[in-house]
């Protein structure tokens, strides 16, 4: 073996490269998901039904009325589409990873993430995927196209705004999740908070205007699920002015920065499960 710390020693080399790390993580995440065949196929089959489960209540409501809180069926489809897109990203990429962090803190695998010379938040957020959520992503595109077919296709501006808002909304939701996970560094078990968060986020499938004032603010600012579902739809419909879009993006960037700061604070007080 060559001498440690000699000319070949790594600590003097260039260090890990981000694209390589990301592709290695993605590879492992996919291989993990494909490891159990039965569970993969069952998840994939069940996942395909999610869109029906989400559209059904909407169809029931609009079977009785043409408009709910100023939203027509076609316009509501846009909200549903963006909600599905958010749930695809959150359920497919974010939740499996951040859920594993909690387990990792309890059982000690977090130690090994912290020992790697790669940003721990990145590794902790990119080790797992749930491929079945691909259905939600695909059906989101179909549902949004269906809605736009009814409302008429908007121009480049609203589409860009909607896209940016969707990213901002997902980022805000990710940040909220990360904050909850940070709590587990101190409290270890935060399962209930995670379930609660999941249940509240489910409210995002409806246009935010159907909720009363306080609830509307809550779903936009505290659990900003409306930012990822209703707001992009409003942008497509031309109901948002540019200033609001920019503010929403700025706020979600701020939220992300706060979540990252909290994560670093949480790492400093990490106690590591004893062996």
């Amino acid at each position: 073996m060559p001498p440690a710390g000699g000319p070949e020693a790594l600590s003097s080399g260039p260090g890990p490269r981000l694209p390589e790390v990301l592709s290695a993580l993605a590879r492992v995440a996919l291989m993990n998901a494909l490891q159990y065949r039965a569970s993969f196929f069952v998840d994939f089959f069940v996942g395909s039904g999610n869109v029906v489960a989400i559209l059904l209540p909407l169809a029931v409501v609009f079977g009785k009325t043409d408009s709910v809180a100023g939203w027509t069926w076609d316009q509501s489809l846009l909200v549903t589409g963006f909600f599905l897109m958010m749930s695809a990203v959150m359920g497919g990429l974010v939740e499996p990873n951040l859920g594993a962090v909690v387990e990792g803190i309890r059982q000690g695998q977090m130690d090994y993430i912290l020992l790697k010379p790669v940003d721990a938040q990145l590794v902790a957020s990119a080790q797992r995927v749930a491929p079945a959520k691909l259905w939600d992503g695909l059906s989101a595109l179909v549902v949004i196209a269906w809605g736009l077919h009814g409302t008429g296709w908007p121009g480049f501006g609203p589409i860009t705004a909607a896209f940016c808002l969707m990213i901002a909304g997902v980022m805000a939701m990710y940040s909220l999740w990360l904050l909850v996970i940070c709590l587990s560094f101190w409290f270890v078990r935060v399962d209930n908070l995670r379930y609660l968060l999941g249940a509240v986020a489910d409210a995002g499938r409806w246009p935010v205007d159907i909720y009363s004032g306080v609830a509307r603010v809550f779903l936009t600012v505290v659990v900003p699920v409306a930012l990822a579902s209703s707001w992009p739809a409003m942008a497509l419909l031309g109901r948002l002015d540019l200033a609001l879009v920019v503010q929403a993006i700025a706020v979600s960037l701020g939220g992300f920065a706060f979540a990252r700061w909290s994560w670093k604070r949480a790492l400093a007080s990490y106690t590591s499960a004893s062996s």
Binding site: M1, P2, P3, A4, G5, G6, E8, A9, L10, S11, S12, G13, P14, G15, P16, R17, E20, V21, S23, A24, L25, R27, V28, M31, N32, Q35, Y36, Q107, G108, Q109, D111, Y112, L114, L115, K116, P117, V118, V123, A268, S269, Y270, T271, S272, S274, S275
Partner: protein, 319 residues
């Protein structure tokens, strides 16, 4: 010097709960905390290439110290420098120059073959593919794990898994190896193999090895220098031989199947042998008196087993 530790302390705040259900309910609303000083004012230096053993009873603070040295835990007080870095800053160059193997935890991806974990570590440590292939070949050959590289980790035996853990931990050629009970739970033969590997790795690469273990054989075979930690404080820093001389300076002279007449020289029968316990100075005189009367007997001189030495040492500390 590769490791410099001065006045290192770590205090945990742990909840105190009264007894039984009533205690649990009370603790839910009015939780009391207690500070536990896991490591108290510990200082030591380690030179490049040394093999050092951390020894101490359960809860003595060994693992906490290792975790502070590897940057997982932030010290409450004191300073630590490892390879010139402050571990708690977790800078890339520091993390690439150390490794931590924990016998009771694993980094290998449970559902995938070990080589997938190796490949992931290669990317995360930024190891050049050619250097990676070379190091991997060498480690696989040293540990003889070629046949198991394709098997999912969950199907490996504990010993096979530990060997793969070692490979995963060493692919980036770290300068400092922190090994926390690397032989725990392994059968005797596997323990010997792991010990041999660590020794070979240290001599061929010059990497520094810091090891904790409950198996005294690990310590006896691997680490010429010993740091004894007890109740969070460093009680001894020196060679194993010097510690044995101090705590248990006596020798056991064992005459295999010796004649009963040896009783005249102070021997007592133990399991068919005749045994006498004497001071180190006395040993030669006693040996020659035995051999002058019974020149053909098989005779052995033993130091007390390390377990006994340590038990006595810790007892001495608590007395």
């Amino acid at each position: 010097m590769i490791i410099d530790v001065v006045g290192l302390s770590k205090t945990y705040r742990v909840p105190v709960k009264g007894e039984g259900l009533a205690g649990s309910v009370k603790s839910l609303f009015n939780r009391q905390y207690r500070d536990v000083e896991a490591v108290k004012n510990v200082s030591f230096q380690i030179e490049r290439g040394e093999r050092v053993g951390f020894l101490g009873p359960n809860g003595a603070g060994k693992t906490t110290t290792l975790k502070m040295l590897s940057g997982l835990l932030h010290p409450t007080a004191g300073t630590v420098l490892v390879a010139g870095y402050r571990p708690k800053d977790r800078v890339v160059a520091f993390l690439r120059s150390i490794t931590l193997v924990m016998g009771q935890k694993q980094q290998l991806l449970w559902d995938l073959p070990p080589q997938e974990s190796f490949a992931l570590n290669r990317a995360m440590y930024g190891v050049d593919p050619a250097a990676y292939a070379r190091t991997l070949d060498q480690l696989v050959a040293m540990l003889k794990i070629e046949p198991i590289l394709q098997k999912p980790v969950r199907n490996l035996s504990l010993g096979e898994r530990m060997k793969c853990e070692l490979v995963a931990a060493l692919l980036h050629q770290p300068q400092v190896l922190f090994l926390d009970e690397p032989t725990i739970g392994l059968d005797v033969e596997m323990q010997v193999q792991v010990r041999k590997f660590i020794h070979e790795y240290n001599t061929s690469t010059g990497a520094t090895v810091i090891l904790t273990s409950h198996y005294m054989q690990d310590i006896a075979a691997l680490t010429p220098r010993l740091l004894v930690i007890d109740k969070g404080t460093l009680r001894y820093d020196g060679s194993l031989t010097a510690l044995t001389e101090r705590v248990a300076p006596e020798r056991r002279i064992v005459v295999k199947g010796g004649p009963a007449e040896l009783a005249e020289l102070g021997f007592v029968p133990v399991d068919g042998d005749q045994v006498a316990t004497v001071t180190a100075e006395e040993t030669n005189r006693r040996l020659s008196s035995v051999l002058s009367r019974w020149p053909m007997v098989e005779i052995a001189v033993e130091s007390p087993p390390l377990e006994e030495v340590m038990a006595r040492y810790f007892h001495e500390g608590s007395a």
